[in-house]
Assembly symmetry: C2
């Protein structure tokens, strides 16, 4: 179901998922005079604290989903692993954005890579792997080192192992857990970047500047804006994001992760993966842009004009993981820094508890 | 009661009043991982939509106030006309910021002007007026033109009449309604400015840059930052705000309205009034600063370090009154402009429905 017309102020946005992304979406919607109804199974969901309504129920609770859909004008989500049946129930009752195609594409790494290659974008060489024989065939073609990844439900480096030269394939396959997988060639990249783009129901597109993303233990540590890449490379990256959203007839904000490799002295972009939602590497927009990625997503799905993605400052976003957020008193003291804490009741090692945006005057 | 120690994330801020100021305070608190409990009598209070909890009850409902105080760590308010008894009940149970002295001072124009003059600040010449005789005596001293204002509950030009040369005093006093009043000399000012300042429990002070405020029909229309005044005048204005907060042992954000008059070719500052709360002329901080006046107020009352009040852009804030907000689709299209809508259910002529912050690169 498509949105019939732009949603006026006081309309209700339904959001699946009650974590920090849902919370920041709800805060951004409030700025525009829009209400939010959060649907999430966890009773202590941080997004519940800032939304006009919430439903605490399982994603497969069809009755709760029907009641939820009755009082909302559009539905979106903060995570790409929304069960297909949940999305299907809602999409029959209310406009769903981003749509089912974006969800299905991003939920399965093999489908995703096939889609990306199919629209002419460069990815790591890849092959599906369903059993040990398939792994051996894939290795014969792609070679080592390479990376075996679960097709579904992987995140932050979970569900993947490196296939180095010294590893035994049968042991690797057993260790991996014999799940449907994809083998990807190892990319010898210089840096990782991402593009945060938005597309409206009318096909309009807005793209933010490109951050460089630095990871620690496979978890995003910092996004540095602008990335230290050639302007032509940044323009290519932004163009790639636009092509992806158009090909998916996408509505909302998308995060596109890319590797920057060097070949014959030139920077080359290789698409790693897409996230059909607001993205951790776009949190810098909350303080360096007048319209954050969260407001942009709300504008896009509500049929509003997309906001100006222009950036008034240079910025470094740093995630606060686990007990790093307990340093809030010192962090709050820093000049020209935006501190964001997510209202999570429990602090666990590696858990995303907040982030800091440190601004500096824009250089050119 | 004073705050014993800084409130850690997940503490609960109590807010009296559920209008747009309470709403924007709640949104700012959420950014810092703090929860809000809104207390307001109107069932459709815009702030209810974005707060973890709310109580819909009258301000003189002692039982509801006691229950409210039980679950909060500090209490503040979005309007200066909090009944003294309400403030007294809460202040016995939980830290109240800004404190009772600030409330009492700002609720009565005569007390306010007496306080300001008492700490050596220039105000319009003024005299209390309780009856027609008093009005005649006041006019004999202060002269005409002058302005007769209600001592209490005036706002946006309501509760005041001009005493021009042609007006009959007995008719004016009858028209005014014979309420306790103050007569103020007419000030021949060039522009109106304001200062938004914050003071913490520890006496630390942070002051934003000075906006020029333009009114239409006595309602704020635009705040222009920076104001076109001499740097020394702006510094004096900021200094005045600091002196006021120190004299009141103030905690929180305060709005100080001043007239800029010219005497002997020099700019002179005359204090008009103070508002013991976040202030409409500080809404520009939401997009031109990294820490808005709303976050600053929450930081101050919660015992956090005050945030950097630095401004990264020049900005013009324009209020959206009544049906001006119905132009949201065109307003949302503007580049480098922050659109804020307040989620009010009903649009009435002159009602504050939202505001726009239009940014331009900072000039020096």
């Amino acid at each position: 179901m498509r949105l019939a017309k732009p949603l006026p102020p006081n309309s209700v946005i339904g959001i699946l998922g009650g974590g920090q992304l849902g919370r920041m979406l709800a805060l951004a919607a409030a700025r525009l005079g829009l209400k939010c109804h959060i649907f999430a199974p966890e009773a202590d969901s941080p997004a519940f604290q800032v939304a006009a309504r919430h439903t605490c129920a399982a994603y497969d609770d069809a009755q709760a989903l029907h009641a939820f859909a009755t009082g909302i004008d559009v539905v979106t989500y903060e995570f790409e692993n929304v069960p297909a049946e949940t999305a299907a129930i809602l999409a029959r009752l209310v406009p769903l954005a981003p749509g089912s195609e974006a969800l299905a594409t991003s939920q399965d790494r093999f489908v995703e890579k096939t889609f990306l290659a199919g629209i002419g974008l460069e990815t790591a060489e890849f092959a599906p792997v369903d059993d040990l024989d398939g792994l051996e065939r894939a290795i014969a073609r792609i070679g080592r080192p390479s990376i075996l990844k679960t097709r579904r439900f992987g995140y932050d480096g979970k569900g993947q192992i490196s296939i180095r030269h010294d590893i035994m394939l049968d042991a690797a396959w057993a260790q991996f857990g014999k799940r449907p997988a994809i083998l990807e060639a190892f990319i010898d990249f210089e840096i990782e970047v991402s593009v945060i783009a938005a597309r409206g129901w009318d096909g309009s597109i807005a793209v933010y500047d490109v951050p460089e993303n630095r990871h620690v233990n496979h978890i995003l540590h910092q996004s540095i804006v602008p990335a230290a890449i050639a302007q032509t490379t940044a323009a290519q990256a932004r163009n790639i994001a636009g092509r992806i959203t158009s090909a998916l007839d996408y509505v909302g904000v998308i995060g596109v992760e890319l590797f920057v490799a060097r070949r014959d002295g030139q920077e080359r972009l290789i698409v790693n993966e897409i996230a059909p939602r607001v993205h951790n590497s776009g949190h810098w927009t909350m303080d360096a842009c007048i319209v954050s990625q969260f407001e942009q997503h709300i504008r896009a799905i509500a049929g509003w004009p997309l906001g100006d993605p222009g950036r008034h400052s240079d910025v470094v976003m740093t995630n606060l993981l686990g007990d790093e957020a307990e340093n809030w008193r010192n962090l709050a003291r820093e000049a020209q820094a935006g501190l964001h804490l997510y209202g999570k009741a429990e602090c666990r090692p590696g858990r995303k508890m907040g982030h800091m945006n440190r601004l500096t005057p824009r250089q050119g």
